[in-house]
């Protein structure tokens, strides 16, 4: 297991390295530069050049890449061109919104999906199963930003139970912060919960066909007991994979939802930075998201071993 983890760790580092190259090269060819953007249409050429040199944009690409990657190793992501603040600081601030939102949505999805999936699987073919399946079919099909539009229309504009968006900051207290995240989290969670429900149900049904569930039933467990004690944990492997994927999807995929609810999260930072050609921010945020995906995948692997002892041995 340890060996396997080391191997995975190595491929994780290689992935990150290649990703950093790809990101850097792709963004280098993006037309437009931050200096002209910042100075607008009346700026003279020498002003732009002066700003470029101030931002370090006149150095060679290779030098800038080395500087960027080298800095990242020391936790220094460079300084934003347009904001003139350390990127790390900006990212940390945005993560304060994106990460809780992601976790909130994921928790919501899990909390909704588990009872629904278990119910559907244990009542396979019954009315409850049909209802759950119908709802999840819809849940998968509804674009989350469209759903979010109606949530805002109803809950913020019509009934004014929640604010239409924005984020007051955690300084105002935990619940104030969480309240601001309710609607976005619901919008994000709906399709994810639907997917998770379906995966859990089908995984459970697969496992319920396994011999050991029959053995458990022969021991004198009722269908439901067998589901809980023997099927659930075995059914977790595909579910864990999906949860891992969903985490990274939510972290980056919240971009659109962050726009709808004007939340100051990572997604909006990317959008804004790319519009302003604040490429060092874009590069760093993309790398961070890639890093998150890779690390989560890695954690999911560890979770496999936790769920399934067979994974613990050898490699």
């Amino acid at each position: 297991m340890l060996l396997y983890l080391l191997k995975r760790l190595f491929s994780l580092i290689v992935t990150l390295f290649v990703a950093s190259l790809v990101v850097f090269v792709v963004l280098e060819v993006v037309p437009g530069d931050p200096a002209s953007y910042m100075l607008g249409i009346n700026a003279s050429a020498d002003t732009v050049a002066a700003l470029k040199s101030e931002l370090g944009l006149d150095q060679s690409r290779f030098a800038r890449y080395i500087q960027w990657v080298g800095g990242m190793f020391q936790g220094d992501f460079g300084t934003s061109y347009t904001y003139r603040t350390p990127v790390a600081e900006m990212v940390r601030e945005r993560l304060n919104v994106s990460l809780p939102l992601t976790l909130f949505a994921l928790t919501l999805a899990i909390v909704l999906a588990f009872p629904a999936g278990l119910l559907a699987a244990s009542r396979r073919g019954g009315a409850a199963d049909s209802v759950v399946m119908a709802i999840t079919q819809l849940g998968v099909a509804i674009p989350n930003f469209w759903f979010a539009m109606w949530l805002v229309l109803l809950f913020a504009i019509k009934w004014q139970w929640f604010s239409a968006g924005g984020f007051p900051g955690w300084g105002e207290g935990f619940f104030v912060g969480m309240k601001a995240l309710v609607l976005p989290a619901v919008a994000l969670a709906l399709p994810q919960a639907s997917i998770l429900t379906r995966v859990l149900r089908s995984s459970l049904l697969d496992v319920l066909n396994e011999d050991y569930v029959r053995t458990a039933r022969a021991k004198g467990l009722t269908r439901r007991q067998a589901l809980w004690r023997h099927a659930l944990r075995n059914a977790m492997i595909p579910v864990l994979t999906i949860i891992g994927l969903q985490f990274s999807f939510l972290l980056a995929g919240a971009i659109i939802i962050e726009n709808v609810f004007f939340l100051p999260g990572l997604g909006r930072l990317i959008f804004q930075s790319i519009a302003q050609r604040d490429l060092i921010v874009v590069e760093s945020v993309i790398m961070l998201l890639v890093f998150a995906v890779v690390v989560v995948t890695f954690l999911v692997d560890i979770a496999y071993a936790w769920v399934d002892p067979r994974m613990r041995r050898g490699f």
């Binding site: 607008g40 945005r94 924005g166 004007f262």
Partner: protein, 493 residues
């Protein structure tokens, strides 16, 4: 514990007093579509910077008032010497920067020289081109020498790009602005909001507000929702004109429609193959139904224009008659130019709604007369690179928001590449002219020349559509410059 009766009464009174003081709100939350990238107005062109700091945190020697007129600010008075080539300013006394540093003539010298310097990153460096030197006479007096007489100096010094910084804190202005204004910078939650607070030591007239928050809401739906949900009190530049009718119907809000300095034009590349022929440009001008664009893109807000000139300016003349909506004439002109039914143009559209929506309408209108367009939506950075710098375009839509900027037509290498020596001469003469009447005549001539040369498709003057809680007073109605001047803002109860 026994409470002394008198002190109890005093407590009650205090509570009652403070209660009544709270009756009128002293804080305000303003919505803005764009977040400023930083807060240094001398280091970037973003309008959002000025919208936060202008007149609130930073002040210059002169300043714009709501009607666009130039008024004294940090300079209490001035005199013009040496045949208009030397301005001597007397500075306000007792002015301190927010960090406690004294404001002196040295700061003026520093600020102007910083803006003029070779390595300056001032986006409007041109404003200072004519200045040869800045002389500190004493702490409270400073003189500016010019190369040629300039009637625009006081106007130029009122720009946000000409505000006065302290040499000690200037480098940090981007993130920790220290100015002389009535508000101090207090907090910036990036991506969400900036908060400013009343400056208790302000030299001038005290402001009514204790605190103001600028909240950044780029999404128009979210902007509407935030107003309806009461998250923001006012949206001085409301980004979605389509909702204004609804907001107007809501008794909680008032909608104020004013003017901006933004001439919204269909810029044409005068050197591109198809558009070098004036008949083609004229055909395009006649193919455009301005009112449909104002209605369709701006939901009726905006004033059609026939040249590059703001209708609220005293020297404005209505030249829309030069380019009436006449499809037959457009077709005839195209035929005359020999390109009938055989013309395809690129139309690059920057992000604002006036451009994206307007572009769609113009594309449809041009198609009616047989001009095909390929729409390409671009980001501002791309627009600057490709259109503005690279001149790689046929058509684009953009709003020129600088005040009195007809002079851009005299720049031969400007992105629409108009080149008319007569016009250039006129503008050169205009910049040296001090006589008001003469200037008026020249401006009218200039408007007529570019209108009749069909340099660009002149669409409409951008309206400033502000939405505010009905209890808020003192917000600017028009937008002579990019600013959310809060000095005169208060709540009525």
């Amino acid at each position: 514990m026994i409470i002394d009766k008198r002190s109890f009464t005093a407590l009650l009174l205090a509570a009652a007093f403070s209660g009544s003081a709270l009756a009128a709100k002293t804080d305000i939350t303003l919505g803005m579509a764009l977040e400023p990238p930083n807060l240094d107005p001398t280091g970037g062109a973003a309008a959002a910077i000025d919208e936060v700091v202008y007149a609130n945190i930073f002040e210059g020697l002169t300043r714009f008032k709501a009607d666009g007129s130039v008024h004294p600010a940090l300079a209490s008075e001035w005199s013009i010497e040496n045949e208009g080539k030397r301005y001597v300013f007397t500075l306000q006394s007792g002015v301190k920067f927010h960090d406690g540093a004294d404001f002196t003539a040295d700061d003026v010298k520093f600020s102007i020289e910083r803006a003029k310097a070779d390595d300056s990153t001032n986006a409007q460096k041109g404003l200072f081109e004519n200045i040869t030197s800045v002389e500190v006479i004493d702490d409270a007096t400073v003189a500016i020498d010019l190369e040629t007489p300039d009637g625009n100096l006081l106007f130029n010094l009122a720009w946000g790009d000409a505000i006065i910084l302290d040499s000690e804190s200037a480098d940090n202005a981007a993130t920790a602005p220290i100015g002389t204004g009535p508000f101090t910078f207090s907090n910036w939650v990036q991506g969400d909001r900036i908060e400013i607070e009343k400056n208790p030591d302000y030299w001038g007239e005290a402001v009514a507000l204790e605190k103001a928050t600028f909240k950044f809401i780029s999404d128009p739906t979210a902007a509407f929702a935030s107003l309806m949900a009461g998250d923001v009190d006012a949206f001085p530049n409301y980004p979605a004109p389509e909702n204004l009718v609804q907001l107007e119907a809501d008794p909680r809000f008032k909608v104020v429609v004013g003017t901006t300095e933004g001439e919204t034009i269909l810029s044409m590349n005068n050197k591109s193959e198809a558009l070098a022929d004036v008949r083609v440009r004229q055909a395009i001008a006649h193919a455009i139904d301005r009112q449909a664009i104002v209605d369709g893109a701006m939901f009726g807000y905006g004033t059609p224009i026939g040249s590059h000139f703001a209708p609220h300016h005293p020297s404005y003349i209505d030249l829309t008659g030069n380019s009436t909506f006449d499809q037959d004439k457009a077709r005839a002109l195209l035929k005359e130019a020999g390109v009938e039914g055989d013309i395809s143009l690129s139309l690059k559209l920057p992000p604002p709604a006036y451009a994206r929506r307007g572009g769609e309408i113009i594309a449809a209108q041009l198609r009616e007369v047989g001009i095909e367009t390929t729409i390409e939506n671009v980001e501002w950075a791309q627009w600057l690179e490709q259109v503005f710098k690279g001149k790689d375009f046929d058509l684009t839509i953009v709003s020129h928001t600088e005040p009195l900027d007809i002079g851009i037509y005299a720049r031969d290498d400007y992105y629409f590449q108009y080149n008319n020596p007569n016009f250039n001469e006129l503008m050169a003469a205009f910049s040296k002219e001090i006589d008001i009447e003469q200037r008026d005549i020249m401006l009218k001539q200039a408007q007529t020349i570019i209108s009749e040369d069909y340099v660009n498709g002149f669409l409409f003057q951008l309206a400033k559509t502000g939405v505010a809680n009905t209890k808020i007073n003192g917000l600017w109605e028009n937008q002579p410059t990019q600013a959310n001047d809060l000095t005169g803002v208060s709540w009525s109860d």
